[in-house]
Amino acid sequence: MKYTREEKRKFGIFRLVNSFKYSIDGLKYALVHEQNLVIHFIIAFLVVLFGFLFHLELFEWVILLFAIGSVISAELLNSALEATVDLITEEKKKNAKIAKDIGSTSVLLFAIAAAIIGVLIFLPKLIALF
């Protein structure tokens, strides 16, 4: 078996700029069509806001950044996977359902982990406040 993907050999600043353009296109598409991604972004914004209010330490900022980035990236990869499945088959199939379900389960797991991290960081500060 040979890998027959067309190899792009051109290097240069234009390719880099183009790849950023494609990424921003994908982000725009996902923000318009995926409601969950908007919710993730709103929660991330609130978390950053509360982080500034509570004067977090550097390590807490780093782990919050990791949680936010991994959830949003998982969501975007999930929408990429869904688009791929839609590309392959338009009608209902068992394997297509399994692929989409497992993709959204991965997002759910990341979101649960991020929520646990958020509670671990913010709950002691909230309790100390009252």
Binding site: D25, A80, L81
Partner: protein, 115 residues
């Protein structure tokens, strides 16, 4: 060329991609810098977590791109959406890990330089 092991085969294919080479080069430089700056256990853990997650997302993105190329070699709207969303995921996590590793390493670099 043909290896029995799927793991090794995947690595061989993935390292034809320019972006993965770039990321691995950057990661090796970051690890060397981390070793040079005498970081604590927690800082090592964060740096390795970020770098590994970045590689994972990059490999997933490569897998999706190959799959899309197999399914539709010609232009298609869904194909564009799939590739763009994959690269958006990559870009966002790359920004996050640059910032996170920067938060860890930049104060130490400034200390060494003596600003």
């Amino acid at each position: 060329m043909e290896s029995k092991n799927k793991f090794i085969r995947g690595f061989k294919v993935a390292y034809k991609e320019f972006s993965i080479k770039l990321i691995t080069g950057g990661s090796i430089c970051t690890l060397l810098l981390t070793a040079f700056l005498s970081c604590s256990f927690l800082e090592w853990a964060y740096v390795i977590l970020f770098l590994t997650m970045m590689h994972g997302i990059e490999f997933f993105n490569t897998a999706i791109e190959w799959m899309v190329d197999i399914v539709s070699p010609e232009y298609h709207d869904y194909a564009k959406v799939a590739k763009d969303c994959g690269s958006a995921a990559e870009m966002l996590f790359d920004f996050c890990s640059f910032t996170g590793v920067g938060i860890i390493l930049v104060p130490k670099i400034l200390e060494v330089v003596g600003v």
